[in-house]
């Protein structure tokens, strides 16, 4: 039964998955167990994305199904779900750029891989990254950008982190659009990730994956 939800959700069978959740709730099962299964399913989705079996539409769709499951389960919950997290990552699309598709994928993948992700959204000024690092004490920052204007915004963000005296406490990774190794050098970031999986690997390398 438990396995059922994991595979059905991972296989993106929306109706079946929701049916299973409804049945389990009706049977009085612990909502937390259901959410845990769902989380495991999302991990599978992430794996499949990594292996190029799944693509962005699958992430989007699985996210939608997960949202529906959460909506079903939430009213029955008496205590908050607590998941052990590997570590904290701040992520955002840099100043001047409002593209969010790439950033959202990285957020998704970091999340299903067990990280606590602080997503600052798009067009994020350097100071906001700095403030969030201070506030959360995160040790990894991911800068996303699609347009070529992001080259400079990333550079400015890394510099702002430096000016705040945080440069040696955090690792900065960049990615998206036209980014590559050359741009990493230009911006002074620690690493460039060619895709979301690379971002996850970097985070694991820097934070350790428990």
């Amino acid at each position: 039964m438990a396995d059922d939800l994991v595979t059905t959700l991972a296989d993106l069978k929306e109706k079946e998955a929701l049916g299973i959740v409804q049945k389990r709730l009706d049977a009085g099962e612990d909502p937390l167990a259901i959410l845990d299964d769902a989380r495991r399913a999302m991990e599978t989705v992430g794996k499949r994305f990594e292996n190029s079996e799944y693509f962005i539409p699958d992430l989007v769709y699985s996210g939608e199904i997960l949202k529906e499951i959460t909506d079903l389960v939430k009213p029955k919950m008496t205590k908050d779900v607590e998941v052990k997290r590997l570590g904290k990552v701040i992520i955002g699309t840099v100043s001047g750029d409002i593209h969010d598709i790439g950033k959202n994928i990285v957020t998704f993948m970091l999340d299903v891989n067990g990280f606590e992700v602080y997503d600052l959204g798009v067009d994020v000024p350097p100071q906001q990254f700095v403030d969030k690092v201070k506030e959360t004490d995160s040790s990894v920052v991911g800068l996303s950008g699609f347009l070529t204007l992001a080259f400079d915004s990333m550079k400015e963000t890394v510099e702002a982190i430096g000016a705040a005296g945080l440069r040696d406490k955090v690792k900065v990774m960049i990615g998206g659009g036209q980014m590559n190794e050359d741009i990493r050098k230009y911006t002074g970031a620690d690493a460039y990730g060619a895709n979301a999986m690379a971002g996850v690997s970097l985070a694991k390398k820097w934070i350790g994956d428990g």
Binding site: E14, I56, Y61, I101, D123, T148, Q178
Partner: protein, 436 residues
């Protein structure tokens, strides 16, 4: 002579163009011939360089994107100076530096632009959104233009919001009954006021269009053919960009694939029309098709084959059928779908690659289509002239072998590209790209 050849020959003949002098005429004819040869996979005299330019031109002359979008004459001068300084094989006008007055008068919601949501020194950006909701397909099918007029336009333009109070336009069909109804409502709702704003907006855009048309004429008279003649979109992108949004269209592939498919088929004839109409006013037979939502990662190969490619394929074939040369800008990475997109008649299209493995593309597609690209923006913005030259050398050596290459940046010339790098790219191609 097939239709493509006929059109290209017509282009090369430079008929109807008033040249400044004989040198300009010779240069124009040489350039069009060079491009026509590359398109038809013949060996031209040298590798053509035909970059698309967005805000690099204003940046290059020290104008902000905001100024370029609000001052038509300054924009004109900036793009002209850029074209004359670099002397590429084509010229590109300030066509996509949309007039700010137009966007303002329409209270346009789908873009943020310099001074309106983005800083004055930045390019405009599209605002993703579900401009058509998941349950609105049927309304769209029942009367597409009515949906656009009364639902879509009010969503993308504040000024056009009163349109939602109009009765459907199809109501004019029932004779004076409909007429009376429509006029009465229109009058009562103060559509007239909105109309004035619209007239103002349209006027701003018309001035802009006239200015870019004049630009095309002047640059042609100076020897520079236009980079493309017409423009259209892949049906999947039209539905995804303009209506359903990225997230919406992705969900539709699972939840309502039949409706999505129907919408794609419905819009295809219009996509073809767009290409034909827009190209009909230019001597250049190329049709620019920016592709957005079909690359690796954005969908599986299977989804690409099912949803993206069929209507794009039909679109390109329909354009080729009329002798036009489709020029898809293949954004992001298509390396795993090169075989699929190779199903295209030989020597009749230009594939402009961004991040695909362009060298592999040469292997797979080199004997079918002319390849355009792809000097990385990263290099142009942050690299050195030597690095740029090294990349261009490899491009010319490998992709340019035996013809069939047009050099451009991966996304055109990046807005923030360093002029010395662009200079290096230009000079190097002109020198090293000569076929001997």
């Amino acid at each position: 002579m097939d239709k493509t050849e006929e059109k290209l020959e017509q282009w090369c003949s430079a008929q109807g163009i008033q040249f400044k002098d004989a040198a300009a005429e010779e240069a124009y004819k040489k350039r069009t011939r060079r491009l026509a040869d590359a398109i038809q996979l013949k060996v031209p005299d040298r590798v053509p360089i035909a970059p698309l330019v967005t805000f690099f031109a204003p940046n290059y002359v020290g104008l902000t994107p905001e100024e370029a979008m609000y001052d038509l004459d300054k924009a004109y001068a900036a793009y002209k100076q850029t074209a004359l300084d670099f002397e590429w094989d084509t010229a590109f006008s300030h066509l996509i530096a949309f007039p700010g007055q137009w966007l303002e008068a329409f209270d346009y919601k789908q873009l943020k632009w310099p001074g309106h949501g983005v800083p004055s020194n930045r390019t405009y950006q599209f605002i993703e959104g579900e401009y058509m909701k998941a349950d609105e397909y049927d309304a769209f099918f029942a009367d597409p233009s009515d949906f656009l007029m009364r639902t879509y336009l009010p969503r993308i333009s504040g000024v056009l919001a009163p349109l939602q109070m109009l009765p459907p336009l199809r109501m004019v069909l029932p004779y004076y009954l409909g007429l009376m109804f429509m006029f009465g409502v229109a009058g009562a709702m103060g559509i007239a006021g909105a109309l004035e704003s619209v007239v103002k907006a349209i006027d701003a855009f018309a001035k802009h269009s006239a200015s870019t048309a004049a630009f095309g004429q002047e640059l042609a008279s100076l020897g520079f053919p236009a980079i493309f003649g017409g423009m259209t979109q892949a049906p999947f992108d039209t539905i995804g960009d303009s209506l359903r949004g990225t997230q919406g269209i992705m969900l539709d592939m699972y939840r309502q694939p039949d409706k999505l498919q129907k919408a794609l088929d419905l819009i295809l004839p219009d996509a073809i029309q767009m290409g034909l109409i827009s190209a009909s006013i230019s001597p250049s037979p190329t049709v620019f098709i920016p592709l957005h939502k079909g690359p690796m990662g954005f969908m599986s190969l299977e989804q690409f084959k099912t949803f993206y490619w069929p209507t794009l394929h039909k679109l390109m074939l329909a354009l080729i059928d009329q002798g036009l040369v489709p020029m898809p800008f293949i954004e992001a990475d298509y390396t795993d779908r090169l075989e699929i997109i190779s199903a295209i008649p030989k020597g009749k299209a230009i594939y402009w690659f961004e991040r695909s493995d362009i060298f592999k593309a040469k292997e797979v597609l080199g004997d079918r289509v002319c390849i355009k690209g792809n000097v990385p923006s990263a290099l142009l913005c942050t690299g050195t002239p030597d690095e740029v030259k090294a990349y261009c050398k490899k491009l010319i050596d490998v992709v340019g072998k035996g013809g069939g290459l047009i050099v451009d940046g991966d996304i055109g010339i990046a807005d923030e590209a360093k002029p010395e790098n662009v200079r290096a790219m230009t000079d190097f191609v002109k020198e090293y790209g000569v076929y001997r």
